[in-house]
């Protein structure tokens, strides 16, 4: 430890390490969680596409993991059904 350490910002790598360990423990525990999301997205896309022309990147499926419960968030942007401009968004949380 040299005198110059006083002028240095605090090391941030330990924080990175700790955050990763906690996050990845969680993500691995859910296991196959990423697959579930991908599968859900594909199936939702298939259902919606029967009714609207749909772009893949207009559908987002997100799983937010909380301690007590997790939130599944599905956000779908579809072309407006009337003649007006813009798009309609259907958001679903549950």
């Amino acid at each position: 430890m040299s005198l110059f350490n006083w002028f240095r910002p605090r090391p941030t790598a330990p924080a990175a390490r700790e955050r990763l360990q906690i996050l990845l423990a969680h993500e691995r525990a859910v296991g196959g969680g990423s697959d579930l999301i991908a599968t859900l997205k594909e199936e939702i896309l298939a259902v919606i596409a029967k009714h609207f022309p749909l772009e893949r990147d207009k559908v987002t499926v997100k799983l937010d993991r909380g301690d007590a419960f997790s939130t599944l968030e599905i956000d779908i942007e579809v072309p407006t059904m009337n003649r007006g401009q813009g798009a309609t968004r259907m958001a679903l949380r549950g």
Partner: protein, 271 residues
């Protein structure tokens, strides 16, 4: 015996293409026959990093779709004996890749080369899963940085579940290649250390490639760093990694750790 290796990461810009070129060239320089295959359809870059961009006539998609035969699409490196490139298409997208087509091309490449090295696109979707599907072994390219480590963890999960080997209940060989490593910054606690990343990802270490301007210099002139600057820190680190892939035991050196007195005082490398 032929081995299919995928160079993958999840995250973009971590050094997959650089590493594919450098490891492929190094293995060929060590006497193996090697083909490097660009799976980054639509965003091909391996041809450029290998200095073969003006020689591309046919590509992977042409071969998959039967518009060209494999030997017509393969580009032999003019500098390194035994090294070839199968370029990606720039005008098509990854939907032009079919699982059966990829399987057929990989099987044909296995017959011709000791090493088939697949440069994966970023992401975790079709392009990346096709690039890894037939691999016997994977090089997981990771930077000492939170988002890269997290994405590598995802990719490791996919290697263990989505590859043909995994589907057959076999284990795919996984190697960690830590790139753009700055030992001085890690020592100052500004960057994750080698041990941190190893502990978190818990796959064996293939090598540590230092952050180095030699890498950019090599890509500027279209030459793998093991050819352009074999004695440089990254050049040597890639050679060591290639030897380990070949089954040799090579002591692991953390490159770029030497610092002068000023550097020690200020915790900074003296340029």
């Amino acid at each position: 015996m032929s081995k299919v290796l995928v160079v993958t990461s999840g995250k973009g810009g971590v050094g997959k293409t650089t590493s594919t070129a450098a490891l492929g060239a190094a293995l060929a320089q060590l006497g193996k026959t090697v083909v490097v295959v660009d799976f980054d359809v639509g965003l091909r870059n391996l041809d450029l990093v290998m200095g073969a961009e003006r020689r591309v006539v046919f590509d992977l998609i042409n071969v998959i779709q039967g518009d060209a035969k494999l030997p017509q699409a393969l580009i032999r490196d003019k500098r390194i004996e035994g090294l070839s490139l199968l370029p990606a298409s720039q005008t098509r997208d990854k939907d032009a890749l079919s699982a059966e087509g990829v399987a057929r091309v990989i099987a044909e490449l296995r017959e011709k080369f000791d090493w088939v090295i697949c440069d994966s696109p970023a992401g975790i979707e079709k392009g990346a899963t096709l690039a890894m599907h037939h691999a016997d072994a994977a090089v997981v390219v990771t930077n000492p940085e939170v988002s890269s480590v997290r994405d590598s963890d995802r990719i490791i999960g996919m290697l263990d579940s989505k590859t043909a080997k995994a589907e057959r209940g076999e284990r795919i060989e996984k190697h960690l290649l830590l790139t753009r490593y700055d030992a001085a910054r890690a020592a100052r606690g500004e960057m994750l250390k080698v041990e941190d990343v190893l502990e978190i990802l818990s796959i064996p270490l293939l090598g540590i490639i230092p952050e180095s301007e030699e890498v950019l210099r090599a890509s500027n002139v279209g030459s793998p760093v093991t050819l352009n600057a074999p004695q440089s820190n990254p050049g040597r680190a890639y050679f060591d990694a290639a030897k380990r892939l070949n089954g040799e035991t090579v002591a692991m050196a953390t490159p770029g750790e030497k610092r002068g007195l000023l550097g020690k005082l200020f915790g900074r490398r003296v340029a």
